[in-house]
Amino acid sequence: MSALDLSLRAQAAAIAAGEADAAELLEETLERIGQRNPALNAVVETFPERSGEMLAAAPDGPLRGVPVVIKDEWPLPWRAQRFGAAEMLAPSAPSESGPYRALREAGAVIVGVGNMHELGAGSTGNVSVYGPAANPWDTERCPGGSSSGPAAAVSARMVAGAVGADGIGSIRFPAAYCGLTGLKPTFGRAAMAGHHLAEVSTTIVSGPLCADAADARLLASALFREPLAAGEGRGLRIGIVRDTVTDDVAPAVRDACEEAIRALAEETGGELVEVELADVEPAALATVLIANTEGLTGLSPQRLNDLDPELSPLARGLLKYRMLLPAAASVKAYSVRTLMRRRVAAAFDGVDVIAWPTVPAVAPPLQAPLVELPSGTLTADAANVRGAGLANLTGIPSVSVPVGLSEGLPIGLQLQAAWGKDELLLDAAEALERANGRRWVDSLPPLARAAETTEA
């Protein structure tokens, strides 16, 4: 087996023990990207010379010599981010972003930049200046967005870990669609410096996308610049909410999530607790309004009239629509944030985690990202935001973990915890892996299975 097929932590351990050669691993990684990426368009740029320089200078950190991909949302010293767009409506230049520094200090080697949904404004990943990224489980399906490329790259085992960003579900959506573990950290806990909205955004965080929770813990520790201790998650009190976010869900997704929640309670010797948490759906809209308002920085009518014609019509229209949103609604959104933070805090007095489906249906087709739900046909974006916005609105951490397959496509369960309890979420995710015998985190998409056979 190639070291490249090991977990992130096993790669790091093998290099540290002298059992794997980091230079060979880098070479194999670039070779594999060359083999698997054409079908996925997950990695939009590699820079072997720069990666080699990072490796040569890598300190003896917890990720020394381990290759990772970083989303096109973060600048690098040799490359400005493009935000997945022909024009990102904000200044961008090569620089040392927070995640870059955190990875460098941990000894990681950035091997490529991951594709992303244009301007971070979609949950599907099917629109980008680089062209759509595809889902390794079915290349006609959406990989999820906006961290589409990082997720597809890890899912196809081009790398064992990638750094994404999550402003309204942008790590958790692709984690769910691609069968990965994706952590949206507590607001402010992960490296954020250098992001073009770092000074204004109250929703965006950086975070890891990995195959399983232990790898996500290792990569998150680098991004947090502090080790995240592992526990057992014993006696977990799991909050269940009865709301649109749990009811208007495709039956296969609902069944898999309910089974996983029961298994998690059994594994931890915990209990299920019904939680009253009203207005989750308006909270999602409030998140969208806040994120859109904060993203208005630098926009003006003239600026909007001069948009790059290479921006998609969807992006151009939505940017212009932002200018028509009533200020009263934006202010109201901040009141909803206050309200929901109080309600969430009260809920966590009685439970340790709150669980519901990450997304209500499996990955939709790239050509028509619509989902069929009990309430009817919805755009994936409209359906997905319902369950994702609360964590970004309130600041709490949230993780998406794989819990099944439907139509050959992954299903994700979302676990949310109180502020600063990122470690507990990862404990719960690991307990769930034990409960299902690691069945889902160890599943490989057809593209990676087929490639393994071909490459053998």
């Binding site: 809209l285 939505l318 629509y321 901040y334 909803v336 109080r342 502020w419």
Partner: protein
């Protein structure tokens, strides 16, 4: 007056008042977004948030101080 999500007048007039130009495709996108968001925005405006002011400087890394 009853609230409405009719886009026929609001969108062109709103854009024109700001001096923002939009082609047919962009207008179609804006119309679709308006149809999706506006009813929910109107509901949001009616949501009871009494006692929950817009705390713009809230520390989102921690629970609310009153919790």
């Amino acid at each position: 007056m009853e609230a409405s999500n009719r886009a026929d007048d609001f969108i062109p007039a709103g854009l024109a008042s700001l001096g923002i130009e939009a082609d047919e495709i962009e207008l179609a996108v804006i119309g679709a977004a308006h149809g999706m968001f506006w009813p929910a925005i109107l509901e949001l405006l009616e949501l009871d948030t009494e006692g929950a002011g817009p705390m713009l400087a809230a520390d989102l890394s921690r629970p609310p101080a009153s919790a």
